[in-house]
């Protein structure tokens, strides 16, 4: 049986909020032992993790793999390679492909392709409504049986409140969470960035924070009515954080995620009409960024997810109005979490890790996200001291559309293990020369 021993690393246990030096022995794709001074067999492969953090395999619950239908942007193979390079052992694939993942057959295709690629694990998300058109419910039962872990019309809000209510009742019955892209399209119509001072100066149409908050408020009320587990995708405004905090205090089954670009950048990044900074929801104000960090720290926001949204160069190399929304995120997430949250003390290391491991695993009802004897060996190694300049041309993702090109980030994933298969994702030992950001 194949075995590995990860030596001399520092294990992070997000569940017990513990950080301790230990070796990890992996046998046959499962964790056999965690402890000091472990020894393997003669044929055991030794992975030197000196100076590295040994984390449960990171899970990104919000990724657009684009396949089927948009293979010029990304494929399941390239997207899952990007996941590995970014330190993720598993990703959720959003259903806004062509065709939309609104039935078992499409989910099955995604899973088959992911298996054939043999990179990170893929958990498909199924559509709420057929074709994500917001008119009729998609077949939740057959999708769940095919391996779908959540339902969402991501990219759009299910604007019909009645249909959302029924979708939530049905999903609650199956004990599958509903992920909502909270954006009232009537309020955001025509907008390409956050409504406010910067949009006024640039002459770009704005999307008000209220477009998000109105949608969050309605969905919280419907979650309360139906008992459904609501997960709010990519929270971006102070008002949305407040609504979720209040709902949680009231006992509503609601969880939420934030993206690294929303907790790092403000609307100022759009200056110069940088289409890589055109995302939906839009980058907001410094006050919103502060509120998102507060929400992360007090637990209102459970998850860090990237909303990895690859686009081709031609699609982004155009007028701001004409460019599609979205930024890639898989290969910058760990660096941004360490540089922007852990290093300045917004989150402790175990807290930050929890938001990328055990928390998404709980939301999606996955047996993953922890390092424990007997658990599947999904493991991420991060060198917290290693600095790296973001070079989009080196991304494994087909999408190079990041607003972080040239940034120097500290905290780099160096290796991942997926079910006992080991991937070294950075050349070992060599630290890349960097220039200051």
């Amino acid at each position: 049986m194949t075995s590995f021993i990860i030596k001399k690393g520092t294990v992070v246990d997000p569940l017990r909020e513990k950080v301790f030096p230990a070796d990890v022995l992996v046998v046959g794709g499962r964790i056999a032992a965690i402890g000091p001074g472990l020894a393997g067999q003669k044929e055991t492969t030794v992975i030197n993790a000196e100076g590295c953090l040994v984390l449960p395999g990171l899970i990104d619950m919000h990724v657009h793999l684009r396949e089927p239908g948009f293979e010029h942007k990304e494929t399941i193979a390239s997207g899952t390679r990007a996941a590995l390079r970014g330190g993720f052992t598993a990703v959720c694939a959003m259903p806004n492909t062509r065709p939309v993942c609104d039935r078992a057959a499409v989910a099955g295709f995604v899973l088959d392709r992911a298996r054939a690629a043999g990179n990170a694990r893929v958990y498909p998300v199924g559509a709420l409504s057929k074709g994500s058109e917001g008119k009729e419910l998609a077949p939740f039962g057959e999708m769940r049986d095919a391996g779908v872990v959540a339902f969402s019309d991501d990219g759009r809000w299910l604007a019909d409140a009645h249909l959302m209510r029924r979708a939530m009742e049905y999903a609650a019955m199956l004990d599958v969470p509903v992920i909502s892209h909270c954006e009232d399209p009537a309020l955001s119509a025509g907008g390409v960035m956050n409504e406010g001072f910067t949009a006024t100066i640039l002459g770009l149409r704005g999307m008000p924070a209220a477009a998000e908050e109105v949608a969050v408020a309605r969905d919280i009320l419907l979650a309360e009515l139906t008992g459904c587990h609501l997960h709010v995708a990519h929270v971006s405004t102070a008002g949305a954080v407040r609504l979720i905090r209040e709902a949680k205090a009231r006992g509503v089954r609601v969880t939420a995620e934030v993206t690294p670009h929303h907790f790092t950048l403000t609307e100022e990044a759009v200056r110069g009409y940088d289409t890589n900074a055109k995302v939906n929801p839009p980058l907001r104000t410094a006050a919103d960024v502060a509120a998102l960090k507060e929400g992360l720290a007090d637990g209102t926001i459970d998850v860090i997810a990237t909303d990895h949204a690859p686009h081709s160069r031609e699609e982004k190399e155009t007028e701001f109005d004409a460019a599609p929304f979205g930024m890639v995120g898989l290969e910058t997430a760990v660096g941004l979490v360490f540089t922007e949250l852990v290093s300045p003390g917004v989150l402790t290391l175990p807290q930050a890790v929890a938001k990328m491991t055990v928390n998404p695993a709980r939301i999606l009802r996955l047996e993953a996200g922890v390092l424990a004897e007997g658990a599947v060996a999904d493991i991420t190694l991060v060198d917290p001291e290693r600095e790296e300049v973001v070079e989009p041309e080196r991304f494994a993702s087909q999408g190079k559309n990041t607003a972080f090109g040239g940034w120097q980030l500290k905290g780099t994933p160096v290796g991942v293990m997926v079910g006992g298969r080991w991937f070294e994702v950075r050349p070992s030992g060599k630290r890349l020369p960097g220039k200051k950001r």
Partner: protein, 312 residues
């Protein structure tokens, strides 16, 4: 000398650069009074007018300006070219550049289009209006007109009335007037006021009577009819009642106040006919000054390019 290759907006210009353009326009105005309105200054230079939005005034103004300076001009507009075939701005720009354009004048519906174009072409780019962002040559001709009528810009109070939200003319003027030391007021219905203007030092009003009081310049903006269907305004009569500039409202302004409008006018909506055609109106002067200001811009940018070639 202008420090930048392009004229993308007044946000990027210094007060001295604006004054240089206005002074140069004064010299150009003199050329226009000659019997033969032509100087050989830009002979052998190519000016391409690339218009993705319909425009009669601005395009004619740029074309005349180029011709008075003896430049060769090419007009490309939506509806008459590969623009219709779905060729993107980037490809059209590269084509124009390969054809040897020295100056590209761009009108486009997308904010930032001129800035985008300028990154891909060697030619100087003049922004002739990009979405709701800026329309620098319009503001420059407005500044020129104000300076001509009032003898100065500094210390004046200029009130813009109307659809501030969608107005690139207002945005460019706010930059220009502020840099030259004028006080700027904007006034319009709350639905047509963009957020954050106060951060630029602009006074924001919804009452036209208050906004006009004591002002030296009343600048009336054009109201597009599509604002009604967009749900931003109840209707034309309501707008004329609350914001239309008539004799009565004009009387609240300073005694020698002038009235401006970028055209084309909706008489009886944003401006009463008797005001538009009255003695305070300088609307036709604006049009004439527009040619001189555009000559100045073409001259300064093309000359800058010539200097570049000399020294590099």
């Amino acid at each position: 000398m202008l420090t930048q290759k392009d004229l993308l907006g007044l946000e990027e210009l210094t007060a001295d650069e604006i004054k240089l353009i206005l002074d140069t326009a004064g010299a150009m105005r003199e050329v226009m009074t000659r019997e033969i309105k032509k100087v050989p200054t830009l002979r052998g230079r190519v000016v391409v007018n690339l218009f993705y939005e319909p425009s009669t005034r601005t395009r004619a103004s740029f074309e005349l300006a180029a011709k008075y300076l003896s430049a060769d001009t090419v007009n490309i507009s939506a509806g008459s070219s590969s623009v219709v075939k779905g060729e993107g701005l980037l490809d059209t720009a590269r084509t124009v550049s390969a054809l040897g354009a020295d100056v590209v004048v761009l009108r486009h519906r997308a904010a930032g289009a001129a800035a985008f174009l300028s990154r891909y072409v060697h030619a100087a780019v003049i922004n002739a209006g990009d979405g709701m962002h800026e329309h620098p040559t319009q503001a420059l001709l407005d500044l020129y007109t104000i300076r001509e009528c009032k003898g100065k810009v500094q210390g004046l109070t200029v009130t813009f009335v109307g659809d501030i939200l969608h107005s690139r003319v207002a945005r460019s003027n706010i930059w220009g007037l502020s840099k030259l030391g004028a006080a700027v007021r904007v006034c319009g219905p709350a639905t047509l006021l963009p957020p954050g203007l106060d951060r630029l030092g602009v006074q924001v009003f919804t009452s036209v009577d208050e906004a006009v009081a004591g002002a030296d310049v009343i600048y009336v903006l054009r109201l597009q009819r599509e604002r009604f269907v967009q749900g931003l305004l109840p209707g034309e009569e309501e707008y004329a009642r609350l914001y239309g500039i008539n004799e009565k409202r004009l009387a609240r302004a300073s005694d020698d106040a002038i009235v401006m409008h970028p055209g084309p006018l909706n008489r009886g909506v944003e401006i009463a006919a008797e005001v538009a055609d009255g003695s305070r109106s300088v609307i036709t002067e604006q049009v004439a000054n527009g040619v001189a200001v555009r000559m100045a811009c073409l001259y300064l940018l093309a000359r800058r390019e010539a200097d570049d070639k000399l020294y590099h």
